[in-house]
């Protein structure tokens, strides 16, 4: 079962591959033409250093490529996020 309802993702916790909390799921950004998911909009946790992330208003946007798993929590690959920010 790889298909999930986007509405059910609301308020899911986002953690990185090292186990630290990144924040709470807000939204997904997609390309309207192709339907490809491009980004994950996250409300950052208070203790998170957001300097390494793309920001929009109070939210951070994580490239969808860095999303490793979506189950009870959303797991993102911290290595990939850093690599993309540097690039």
């Amino acid at each position: 079962m790889e298909k999930i309802s986007a509405q059910k993702l609301d308020d899911k916790k986002v953690v990185d591959s090292e186990g630290s909390e990144v924040g709470v799921y807000q939204n997904i950004v997609a390309d309207a033409g192709t339907g490809m998911l491009t980004g994950l909009v996250v409300k950052p946790a208070a203790e998170l250093n957001t300097s390494g992330f793309r920001k929009e208003d109070d939210y951070i946007i994580i490239p969808f490529d860095a999303v490793k798993a979506i189950k009870d929590v959303i797991v993102v690959d911290s290595e990939k996020i850093r690599a993309q920010v540097r690039a």
Partner: protein, 96 residues
């Protein structure tokens, strides 16, 4: 054009021939493929699509042709729509 999934909720869905289909309630995403797989539609227009007693229907995202203030899908013959829904229903029965 980039869209936020939550901005789709509640948008009206029409065919490119101007027939009202329903209202978007939810978006189904395929995590592995990293793409939108379908649109969950409620308040389905019975003249466009006979859903019987079901609450709604999930239409494949590949039918979508435009997203703006409303969403357009390819005009498909009613029978094609119903066939797809039947397949979905049969799949569900098999799972049970």
């Amino acid at each position: 054009m980039e869209i936020e999934l939550s901005s789709l909720y509640g948008l009206g869905l029409y065919t490119d021939r101007g027939i009202y289909v329903g209202k978007i309630e939810d978006v189904s995403v395929d995590v592995k493929e990293k793409r939108i797989s379908g649109l969950a539609v409620k308040d389905v227009n019975p003249n466009a699509f006979n859903v019987g007693k079901k609450k709604g229907v999930i239409l494949p995202y590949r039918w979508v042709t435009a997203i703006g203030d409303i969403v357009l899908i390819k005009h498909v013959r009613r029978r094609a729509l119903e066939r797809e829904a039947e397949e979905e229903e049969e799949g569900e029965k098999r799972r049970k």
